[in-house]
Symmetry: D2
Subunit: 299 residues, 4 copies
């Protein structure tokens, strides 16, 4: 073994992944979670929350561009954007590439923000200092339930729903109903929705089934995030506008920001939204409806 | 730890993957390699060669359909097909879904075939008994250099090129030139070409660069194979026909066999061939030209 | 990695041990625990309970001889012996080398006995068929509380006290008082008492402290059991007879059975009972008194 | 998994040990080896050479006291002492507790010394500044072959003989003959001699067999070093004096330094030199004679 120091992530009862560990940059226990920043041999600096990989220097651009650009490009207006979670600031960084008027970012754990600013500066790249940004330290569900504002775009960038974890009730029908209420009439939301692996589609399919109970237009898509060791899923949902009818505007809107992107272009968009047969089959079967009374738990 | 028995695969100096191990079905050392069949918690039965995952019950359909169907559907004729490697018989199984006249399968290690027939019957599904099949136990390179036959389609389904391993010289320019000679005028070839992970594009890009030295039309594509824990790459190369002009025939030809497929359909095709920006960038930069004198080695 | 199949044992939050796994001989879930028999590269066949190593072909002789022979040789009489636990039958095998009149073995899980007879025959070596043996399937504590018999020797051969595990209440002061009541006047007991590692003396020291509350003579000793990856501890306790005054009889009694032993002889005895300075210091400090209300839990 | 950062040591083809990794204190590649200092959850600060555990804060006292005190106490005179290896300085620290006149320490890699002084100060505890110490940066074999000095005590504190490693030729008959020549008439030597595990006695037994070809008195002994996860062996060899006849002086000599010791006392001495039956049996069988032409290699 050339390396003797490793970061070990148990991703399920049946799967453990080891990354060579070059440096322990930072460790802290915040009131909400254990926060660690390490440097791995394959992925460079990585942010870990409770031992789970959140984003990595080498490929955070894939995850964050995949999360942000489809909704920002498909949405007619994006004057007012809400980000639920997204502590590293990279989702914010991508959103700010557009001429938005206001972005409210609601993050539970301000230690994550502090640490990301210090140790992962390219992740946020000054985003937190942009005058269009309003940072709120709060539970995203609680904020959305209370807010009287309306948003054109709501981006949900939270960890998977782990039992007892802070995001447990942010994947339920009740929550999505509140999200819908906080959207403008033509508003859209998007959420990450866990693995799209052939043997682990449960969360993804259930998020789709649940969103279909709340929104008329639900568009799942997937891409591959190497540091997650799995194809990764996202779901976009729209209150009134059919996203398929908005594809024409992508190309034009992309003109002004395309230069700044590393992963996303119209090919990548097509690739993400064209789902293979077995995943479409899984949607036909459907998943469970996730509710506050019977929430779903990822490993 | 709920499981105490694990299959461990070191995929690089910086990465180790553990799969829970439910059963050791078979182990043998053939003259060429250590052959093992295990049952893992996530992927069911798995074929391992020298400790490396080759294919798994849960998702071999993705790999084999992705390897076989694009070329079979794009190719004008596929009367005569050559498979280099493909010991489990699953590539053969997919090829035989088409009205081919003859399939020559050249596999080095007949123990792999024997074992696959016995322990992985759905992988081959009687394919070895099909009268259209001619099985040759030989080194694929040696066979292709000697053969006087011409093939419409050549499918290269071999392990990655590991130093000193049996497939070391089956990814070189010299080999691809021999493949080209063995193709009919309108013939096409396809090969798997290792990981397409953001930090591990070296082999993929170099196979593309090398094939471009030999073939006028080279079309890389990727999909995700969960049991490989990485997006996986393939390259299709054509001697004379531009594959892009053949896409129209996919839909029609697919009619007759579509029912039998689990992963591949026209959406999956589109998804695979639409490459994200950073991979296209990597092709622009280019890789090394792999030759017999300077072959490439995967971990 | 030459081996790709491993048995993984997490022995503490800070320590994990991997053994190469050559064969999965048997797996079953009994009403009490997960029972597995594997063959490891270093230790041959191993019995695992709930994923924890219990005994191994290569060195079970060390553990079982260390547990049984000191007490059997120091005790004046050993007509009637009680074994609490000891499912594999190896403790029984060692006891039966002496001219005992009756051995009662109380084992909770009869599946362990069945499986050991079948797959680990040298462990028990026909011991269960010896007419002097009375096998009782019961909880050892419950049996000892109920029994009206008196025993010259009581040997406690149970797994470590794991929270909620079957041996949780078999290391407490209340239990040892019942053991004392079940001993004849000159009787002695012995128990295994977990690791004696420099950083993990907690259970060992506490068992010693607890036994000292109950018995006038308490003699801890240690040896090394390679498959446990730690020096291992035992405690012998005597109701009335000072064990130190009995050492003279060891040599003579050993004459008749010495031939059958592989680990134990007078040198081994001396080595085990001569404790290094830091362990004696740890006893001076003392541990907690383990009681039914505040039992101790090993990892 | 409560911990996600681990130090992994493969100790043989069949065995891997993981220690939780709390801090990476230092890493460097010297001309001879990769040097790392980490803090593990179980053993505190640890010195690793080429990924292998050399000594650990929690139990280095056991290894170093076991190596140094038996020879220092049994030897009639110890005016002049040679230490081969021992880079951390802990062997030196123990030797300096005696009224020696000169200690020559020959260490190949001065980076190990520099690093140990800085990060493991209690290991050496000012020993390198003692005016009685003469530090030589050289290969120990080469030094011993060249020296014209004679030593009362030679302590060999080197890593196991790994193929191609720096200590490969420091366990051979030819080397031991040079050691003998460098000893005074009544001189003694001691060496660590690898694992004494039941299934891994090969190196230990062969060192004993080899020393018996060179020295009239050879006394193997063992103790347990928890951070090595194995019982550990040492061999003491004497040129003319029978060590067994020197035991009487231990107690008296120990008076003056006993207070400073944490592991070693007369009990520990007895425990170490009383070997169990199976190890004595292994010596009867004997090992190979290690020579420059056929050296031995540990994993």
């Amino acid at each position: 073994m050339k390396n003797c120091k490793w970061y070990i992530e148990q991703t399920s009862d049946d799967e453990i992944i080891l990354h060579s560990l070059k440096e322990i940059i930072y460790t802290e226990k915040s009131p909400y979670q254990r926060i660690e920043i390490i440097r791995s041999g394959n992925f460079g600096r990585c942010l870990l929350l409770d031992g789970k990989m959140q984003s990595a220097e080498a490929d955070e651009f894939i995850y964050h561009e995949a999360l942000v650009h489809p909704i920002m490009l498909l949405s007619e207006t994006s004057d007012k954007v809400l980000i639920a979670g997204g502590g590293e600031g990279a989702t914010l960084r991508e959103v700010l590439k557009y001429p938005v008027k206001e972005v409210v970012m609601v993050e539970l754990d301000e230690v994550v923000i502090k640490v990301s600013k210090k140790y992962l500066p390219e992740w946020n790249n000054g985003a937190f200092d942009d005058p269009r940004v309003k940072l709120v330290i709060d539970d995203a569900r609680s904020y959305i339930e209370k807010t009287k504002d309306y948003f054109d775009v709501i981006i949900i960038d939270l960890p998977e729903p782990a039992e007892g974890g802070p995001a447990y009730l942010l994947y339920t029908k009740e929550f999505y109903e509140k999200v819908k209420e906080a959207l403008t009439e033509k508003g859209m939301m998007v959420t990450q929705s866990a693995s799209a692996s052939v043997n682990n589609l449960r969360v993804f399919v259930s998020v789709v089934s649940t969103l279909k109970q709340v929104f008329p237009y639900v568009r799942p898509y997937i891409t591959y995030v190497p540091s997650f060791f799995a194809p990764w899923s996202f779901v976009l949902a729209s209150k009134k506008i059919n996203p398929d009818e908005c594809e024409s505007r992508i190309k034009e809107k992309l003109n002004s920001i395309g230069e700044t992107l590393k992963f996303y272009d119209t090919d990548a968009h097509k690739s993400m939204f064209c789902l293979p047969k077995h995943i479409k089959k899984a949607f036909e079967k459907g998943g469970i409806i996730i509710s506050d009374n019977s929430p779903i738990s990822f490993y």
